[in-house]
Amino acid sequence: MNENFRLPIRLAILAFATVVLQQAAVSQVSIFGVSADISPLVVMSVGLLAGSLAGAVMGFTTGILVDLILVQTLGVTSLLYIVIGYWCGRLRELRDPSHGLVPLAMGAAATAVAGIGLAIIQFLLGVDAPVSFLLVQQIFMTILVNTLIALPVYALVRRVIRPALPEDPRRRRRRAYTTGGLSPLQRPSERLGQIPRSSR
């Protein structure tokens, strides 16, 4: 298979599988009175792993699929997921966060953007439902449940798309530092030999 198509194909399959799994299983299981929503978590994970461009495209594709399958207003979910995917990708490109709990925080943020954003768009489209305690409670509980499952979802997405990701120079450099392979600062005396005292 052409190297250029490996990532898009994997992302397309991942988006489709995510939406089908969400509608057929995840959304039918109630935890603390709400259902988890893995779609924004998958988009967030792709953004963090593959960058802003791939994140935005993944967000658009997943959002359109959600809108199509649920017979909703086309474009609402895709608009929100583009923001999530692009934003997570930019975070990776600008900050390159390496802490293990970053997906947890980003999962909560992505779910909050999806929940609150959907509410705002619904208000703008004229749905007759003012901000109520129940709505705030449901959004909060969904964020909580999604935060709990953010790490496993991120790990699963990483497992699926990592073989297709291009080698990132910064990631390669960081790995070299931590494994002691290529860093010029790692044990310099072993590479350069003993430095004479007079030359110091």
Binding site: A24, A25, V57, L68, V71, Q72
Partner: protein, 294 residues
């Protein structure tokens, strides 16, 4: 090189956002028979067999996860149900007596006992997907126009009214639940006077219903049953047959803003979050033509 990458990234982002906004605007302003809606229905039709397969394959996973979540709420429900059993036993005794009396009276006035669900030719359908958000209260089922399902057919399940068919495809259909913000149905409280009103979802709380337009001093009490009224007004028929349970009055002490009518809160009898199987009433009026009124 870097500038080129940045330009490309921004161009793709702008393109995706523009496409989303165009789709949103076009879809929102179109009628249900427009090309975008038709394409959407076609894609759902193509994908529904996959969803059906996935739904069946993932049922064990759902059941296991559902068992854990149900266990948490089982204890509190048990105590509540014990109280309800006591109340219902009393009501059952009264109802059985009333049933015998009703059968005798029906014979007298020449009415046939056709209120059973079986007379509406129900089609049993399995829920294959549902919307996880509060906003779109819809579910998708695996029966469509090939099975005789039509637009606006009433849907019952879990002992009560669930909603109506809002989109029909040959092998699948979308059900709009009674908690959807645009839903309305004429309903009767089973009190001594049989007061009638219009049942709508409570604004801001889609899991609670509101029975509006009741007489100001209607003797309504908490716990009374609310059923569909199924009114007839000349050529106009309600979409829903009479007597289908909808819910129970949960708070009878509310009035509307203008104090001209009474409104009461109603808890749906059907657990809309856990529906697996529903019944679509394909001939709610014995094949007669229906008007588009709630």
């Amino acid at each position: 090189m870097y500038d080129k990458q940045v330009r490309r990234r921004r161009a793709v982002l702008a393109l995706l956002v523009a496409v989303s906004l165009i789709l949103l605007t076009a879809y929102f302003g179109e009628s249900p028979s427009s090309p975008l809606h038709t394409v959407q229905r076609g894609i759902v039709e193509v994908l529904s067999p996959i969803q059906q397969g996935a739904s069946k394959a993932l049922k064990p996973v759902r059941d296991v996860a559902g068992w854990f979540s149900d266990t948490f709420s089982a204890k509190s429900q048990r105590d509540q149900l014990k109280k309800e059993v006591q109340t219902l036993r009393t009501q059952l005794d009264r109802a059985q007596a009333a049933l015998i009396q009703n059968a005798q009276l029906s014979k007298l006035v020449g009415l046939d006992n056709s209120l059973g669900i079986a007379s509406f030719q129900p089609v049993t359908a399995q829920v294959i997907s549902r919307d996880p958000t509060l906003w779109y209260a819809t579910i998708e089922v695996d029966k469509g126009s090939d099975d005789g399902v039509r637009m606006n057919d009433p849907v019952v399940g879990d002992g009560g009214l669930v909603g109506k068919i809002s989109t029909v495809m040959p092998t699948a259909a979308i059900i709009t639940l009674i908690t959807e913000h645009s839903f309305a149905v004429s309903a009767t409280v089973q009190d001594s006077l049989g007061d009638q009103g219009v049942l709508v979802p409570e604004v801001g709380n889609p899991n609670q219903l509101l029975l509006q337009n009741l007489p100001l001093r209607a003797p309504i009490q908490t716990g009374q049953q609310v059923v569909t009224s199924g009114f007839k007004s000349g050529p106009l028929d309600s979409l829903y047959p009479a007597g289908i349970p909808i819910g129970q009055v949960s708070d009878s002490n509310t009035q509307d803003d203008l104090l001209t009518n009474q409104q009461v809160k109603v808890n749906p009898v059907a657990d809309l979050r856990h529906l697996d199987v529903v019944q679509i009433l394909t001939t709610p009026h014995g094949g007669s033509q229906r008007a588009q009124v709630p």
